[in-house]
């Protein structure tokens, strides 16, 4: 009885682990580091987490996870509520569509995929924000933020990979993938 309860708790923990891990990374990105670097350079670590888990364990990081994750990102920011949700859902859908291709290829291919998907996601986000504010947002900061997002992928992927390797390696696929 006790064992089955622990198993149940462990099972549920593993189900929410990708979302939990992503939230922790997102919160860490909000820590003030007091470095004299331009604010433009701050990367969007949320996109990296959504991309990683959507391509590597989409059975544990579903569309609801992307939605909740986006909602948290929106509430910690001054962007209009819904902007990050839409961006993360967009990344999730694209990454999920190419998941079979990306997950079976090399890391470089995955990085290349991220380059394109993030470009599309930043473009959509910029367009939506520009429509919302009725003015085109300056592109310089967004391009720099995009570049640092891409450059930081190996580190974020490594962090997530460690979590996946440690806790989710032998975990069976929970849902039928259905693609």
């Amino acid at each position: 009885m006790k064992d089955s309860m622990f198993e149940m708790v462990g099972f549920q923990f593993k189900r929410i682990l990708p979302l939990f891990c992503s939230i922790l990374i997102l919160l860490a990105a909000h820590i003030p580091y007091h470095f004299n670097i331009a604010k433009y350079l701050i990367p969007d670590l949320g996109i990296l987490c959504v991309y990683y888990w959507s391509t590597h364990r989409c059975d544990l990081f579903g569309v609801w996870s992307a939605f909740i994750f986006g909602l948290i990102a929106d509430s910690l920011s001054t962007v209009p509520i819904g902007l990050n949700i839409l961006t993360y859902l967009f990344v999730y859908v694209l990454a999920n569509t190419f998941q079979n291709y990306i997950s079976t290829r090399s890391f470089a291919t995955g990085w290349g995929g991220l380059l394109l998907i993030t470009l599309a996601a930043f473009s959509i986000k910029w367009l939506l924000a520009s429509v919302y504010y009725s003015t085109f947002l300056p592109l310089s900061g967004i391009i720099l933020s995009y570049s640092t997002t891409i450059l930081l992928y190996p580190f974020i992927a490594w962090l997530n990979f460690m979590v996946q390797n440690k806790f989710l390696n032998n975990e069976e696929v929970l849902y039928e993938q259905g693609q």
């Binding site: 433009y40 701050i42 990367p43 569309v63 509430s75 001054t78 902007l83 947002l137 900061g141 933020s145």
Partner: protein, 288 residues
């Protein structure tokens, strides 16, 4: 193994269809959130504040190790600079003493003139210090989250100062935390005045590090290097709070460089300046 069917569709196909429907509904919900957020929905704002209030303490807790490391680094740096700082402080102290005498003379003169003109002084502002626990800034938004404790005097719209000058205003209060919108954020619009020529304008953020001056005429007397401060129009912010100086003037583009380095703020000061409350008190006193 026999496959289950739901209304002549295979169960797996039904699941895929359902998942696509859920995804579509979530996309539509996110769009609806954006539209509601444009309309200043109170429910949405409360939900967002609640989420931020849950996660802000976690960020504060997560920064502890970084804070300890940074404090250690600061201590070592301070020790190595102590002699140089001492000489600098002594020189500054001499200057300050001279300035103090001048200020005292001016204060007396000012009081006399105010009495002669029967001038009513505006209500005095209260300052509340708060520690920055989270910062956010990229091409889409520039904001901070500060820990304010159980202070009930902090309200939406109040001015926030950095080391030397205005850095933004309170966007909303979430329990013991306040969301501060920086003056570089695209949502920030502050009534300002050019100190030298007394030209009024609106300082508007555009998500770059140099906010822009709006609503000025082409022949307005504005020069590079002019100091910009709050005008006090609208009654939310006190007049005369320094903001920055004119950095660059182009045809339709006047950019301002903030005096405070907003990229490395540890503490901020929140200004409680309730001019409307002050006016109401004056009115009730007159009625009595």
């Amino acid at each position: 193994m026999k496959r289950r069917r739901v209304l002549f569709i295979k169960l797996s196909q039904f699941r895929v269809f359902l998942r696509k429907c859920v995804t579509a509904v979530l996309f539509v919900s996110a769009l609806a959130f954006m539209i509601l957020s444009k309309a200043d929905s109170l429910v949405l704002e409360k939900a967002s504040n609640l989420t931020a209030a849950i996660f802000s303490p976690i960020i504060q807790f997560m920064q502890l190790p970084a804070q300890i490391l940074y404090a250690g680094y600061e201590k070592v740096r301070d020790i190595s600079n102590v002699y140089k700082q001492n000489v600098q402080l002594k020189n500054e102290n001499l200057d300050m003493l001279m300035l103090k005498n001048q200020v005292r003379t001016l204060e007396i003169e000012n009081n006399l003139l105010a009495e002669l003109l029967n001038y009513q002084t505006p209500p005095e502002a209260q300052y509340i210090s708060a520690r920055v626990v989270a910062e956010e800034g990229d091409g889409f938004s520039h904001s901070l989250i500060a820990y304010i404790g159980n202070n009930n005097n902090i309200k939406q719209g109040q001015a926030v100062l950095g080391q030397e000058s205005l850095i933004g205003r309170i966007e909303n209060v979430m329990g013991s935390y306040a969301h501060i919108i920086l003056l570089t954020d695209i949502n920030s619009k502050i009534p300002v005045i050019i100190e030298r020529s007394r030209v009024r304008a609106i300082l508007s953020g555009d998500n770059t590090l140099s906010p822009k001056l709006l609503f000025t005429t082409r022949d307005a007397d504005i020069m590079e290097g002019d100091l910009v401060s709050t005008s006090g129009v609208a009654g939310i912010l006190p007049a005369g709070l320094s903001i920055g100086y004119i950095r660059h003037i182009e045809k339709d583009n006047i950019s301002v460089k903030p005096l405070t380095d907003i990229e490395s703020l540890e503490y901020v000061k929140i200004v409680n300046y309730n001019v409307f409350q002050g006016l109401a008190e004056t009115k009730s006193e007159k009625e009595k």
